[in-house]
């Protein structure tokens, strides 16, 4: 116990405090946990809960498309698949959320893994456009099926809510989000000594043929990437379904997938913090616009913001900020505060 505490203190002292990006991340998460203490306005609760759910969704897209390079345009498939999975479980078997959420995740992930098989052999642009097709097919299937089976055009309503009160729902979503983001961060960490997936995903993205030549079973790891991404995206979907207490075929729409991509690329692709920043800035700011008289221009503002951001910081806003406040030591690859003259560990000059 004592050793654990001292290790935690040590990583705080040497791993977090000297690196402004990590310090900001920790402070940000502490702030998120304190929001209900500061305000309990229903609107803020709704906004932040949705942001937490969308963060899981966006980060899961980044794992699949950013890290392993399988740029999916149909991420709504996992999201809506999970949402529908849990809603159907409730509708037909009357299960409580505690049971429907895992089952929904299972269904969403299975859906994703099955549909990824035709996608495995494809090159990037084909893959993106193929994955875009699946949610559209499924949406029309849902609409075509009789309403007593899958809700039809109107979706399934009156699902059991996630938790008793908005604040409880918020904490459920926030804790789930934090844990999922941490897991996905570990899984994609290329520098990890124990988990190889991060390194292998990077290898597949950079050069699939070279990765295969070095003995990596790229097909297996691509399926793994789809599965990991599917698990978390459908987790977001099930949370969303129970939080909003309804599912509708509109969840499958391409707009859902595109919004997710916009958040990630806005924040910074191939970084776990990028999507988090993307959702918590872009989604939240645009939602503020929605309640002002400028609501008509919401999508227009989205367009202008996206174009301007990408023109001036094509790597995403989080990466741009990180590069302003951090500098990597050229010798030992350790992150330093940008205004240090020499590396904090090895003393190499940073100028």
């Amino acid at each position: 116990m004592l050793r654990l505490v001292s290790r935690a203190l040590k990583s705080l002292r040497f791993g977090i405090l000297p690196v402004p990006g990590r310090l900001l991340a920790v402070l940000f998460f502490i702030f998120l946990f304190l929001i209900p203490v500061i305000t309990s306005s229903p609107y803020i609760m709704l906004l932040t809960t949705m942001a937490a759910i969308y963060t899981i969704f966006a980060v899961s897209w980044d794992v699949l498309s950013g890290y392993s390079g399988q740029v999916s345009f149909g991420h709504a498939l996992f999201f809506a698949g999970g949402a529908y999975g849990s809603a159907l479980m409730y509708m037909h078997f009357g299960l409580p959320p505690a049971a429907t959420i895992p089952l929904g995740i299972l269904i969403g992930t299975a859906l994703g893994v099955v549909t990824c098989f035709p996608a495995l052999r494809l090159r990037p642009p084909y893959l993106s456009l193929l994955t875009m097709a699946f949610p559209i097919i499924l949406e029309q299937v849902v609409r075509a099926l009789p309403a007593r089976f899958a809700g039809g055009d109107y979706g399934i309503r009156e699902l059991p809510p996630l938790a008793g009160s908005p604040v409880q729902s918020y904490y459920v979503c926030l804790v789930v989000m934090t844990v999922s983001v941490l897991i996905m961060w570990k899984l994609t960490d290329a520098g990890s000594k124990n988990i190889r997936t991060g390194l292998i995903f990077h290898a597949i993205r950079e050069d699939e043929i070279a990765a295969r030549a070095t003995g990596i079973n790229t097909i297996r790891y691509k399926i793994l990437a789809f599965a990991i991404s599917g698990i978390f995206a459908s987790l977001a979907g099930t949370l969303f379904a129970h939080y909003r207490t309804l599912v509708s075929p509109a969840y499958f729409s391409s707009f859902t997938s595109f919004l997710c991509i916009i958040w990630v690329v806005f924040g910074g692709i191939v970084s776990i913090y990028g999507p988090v920043v993307g959702v918590y800035t872009l989604y939240v700011l645009l939602d503020f616009v929605r309640v002002t008289p400028a609501a008509r221009y919401q999508t227009l503002i989205l367009t202008i913001v996206v174009v301007v951001i990408l023109l001036f910081m094509p790597e995403g806003i989080a990466v741009w900020i990180r590069d302003k406040i951090e500098r990597e030591c050229p010798r030992c690859k350790l992150s330093n505060v940008a205004w240090r003259k020499e590396c904090r560990a090895c003393g190499a000059s940073l100028r």
């Binding site: 052999r121 642009p125 919401q298 999508t299 227009l300 989205l302 174009v307």
Partner: protein, 293 residues
């Protein structure tokens, strides 16, 4: 009767898909740019025509000419000032084009009102073909898309610009080393592609219900992407053939199951999935296996 109906629907849809898809295929083939705003430009041109011809009472030909040229120039400017700067970042290109498309979708009701805008037929009436009346507009659409493809083929194979375009399509870096201004060539390709989208905007909404609404671009885009993928991305010949194939599948479904007509989209998508599972590069595409950046 049914056979004729299917053939007719195939013809109409096929030509419209062909003219839209060839513009998209051209831009992708030359610059590896998947321009998701392609059909949004088409929608913009349709709205402009509607506004000029119906709203201000201009003669239709003048309205079409202004809209086509205007949209083409807009496409050029969009490439020059926006896309050219992020060309190297694939994700950024996709994102900017989709964002611009959504922006245009939102801008249309603000500029032109939220009701669907009527787009008049260029040619009224019908001519009998094999004893079945075919509206003249369909034939015009077919003629114009064939004409445009012919012109494009002439441009690509007979002119210096065409050689430049093909060189850039083959290998951008080497073309650049040979003294070809890659961004100018791409700008020209983008201009041609957008002009073709604008021409489609003059022809397509008039036969597809006679009006254009702000969501018109999305469904068209999805179908055109299916077409372009089936034909092999970047292959003009492939997208032309695939256009008729997809149109045939759709016509078959909507004629045989008239009550489930909306399923025709799903069937076209399934056709694409099956095709890609059998032949991952589409009908006439190449895999770009050697392209390892």
């Amino acid at each position: 009767m049914t056979v004729q109906q299917i053939l007719m629907l195939t013809l109409v849809r096929g030509t419209t898909y062909a003219i839209i898809a060839s513009g998209l295929a051209l831009i992708y083939g030359v610059g590896r740019i998947v321009n998701l705003a392609h059909t949004a430009f088409m929608m913009l041109s349709a709205y402009l025509i509607s506004q000029l011809a119906v709203g201000y009472g201009w003669p239709l030909t003048a309205a079409v000419a202004v809209a086509v040229v205007g949209t083409g120039v807009l496409g050029l400017l969009f490439y020059r000032f926006v896309l050219n700067r992020v060309r190297e970042h694939q994700a950024a290109v996709l994102l900017i084009t989709i964002a611009v498309a959504m922006g245009i979708q939102q801008l249309m009701p603000i500029l032109f009102g939220s009701l669907p805008a009527p787009v008049p037929l260029i040619l009224e009436g019908a001519v009998p073909v094999f004893g079945f009346p075919v509206p003249k507009q369909y034939l015009l659409t077919l003629g114009i898309s064939l004409g445009f493809l012919g012109l494009l083929w002439l441009l690509l194979s007979r002119t210096k610009i065409g050689i430049g375009i093909r060189a850039v399509a083959q290998d951008t870096e080497v073309a650049n080393l040979m003294g070809i201004n890659v961004s100018t060539i791409l700008m020209i390709a983008m201009g041609i592609g957008t002009t073709m989208a604008a021409v489609a905007g003059a022809l397509v909404p008039a036969v597809e219900g006679g009006s254009v609404s702000q969501y018109f671009w999305l469904f068209t885009l999805l179908m055109v992407l299916v077409v372009v993928i089936l034909g092999g991305l970047g292959s003009l010949k492939g997208s032309f053939i695939a256009a008729f194939f997809v149109a045939f599948v759709q016509a078959l479904v909507s004629t045989l199951f008239p009550h489930q007509a909306y399923l025709s989209y799903a069937f076209a998508m399934v056709a694409m999935v099956v095709m890609l599972s059998v032949r991952p590069q589409g009908m006439f595409g190449t895999l770009f296996e050697e392209e390892r950046l």
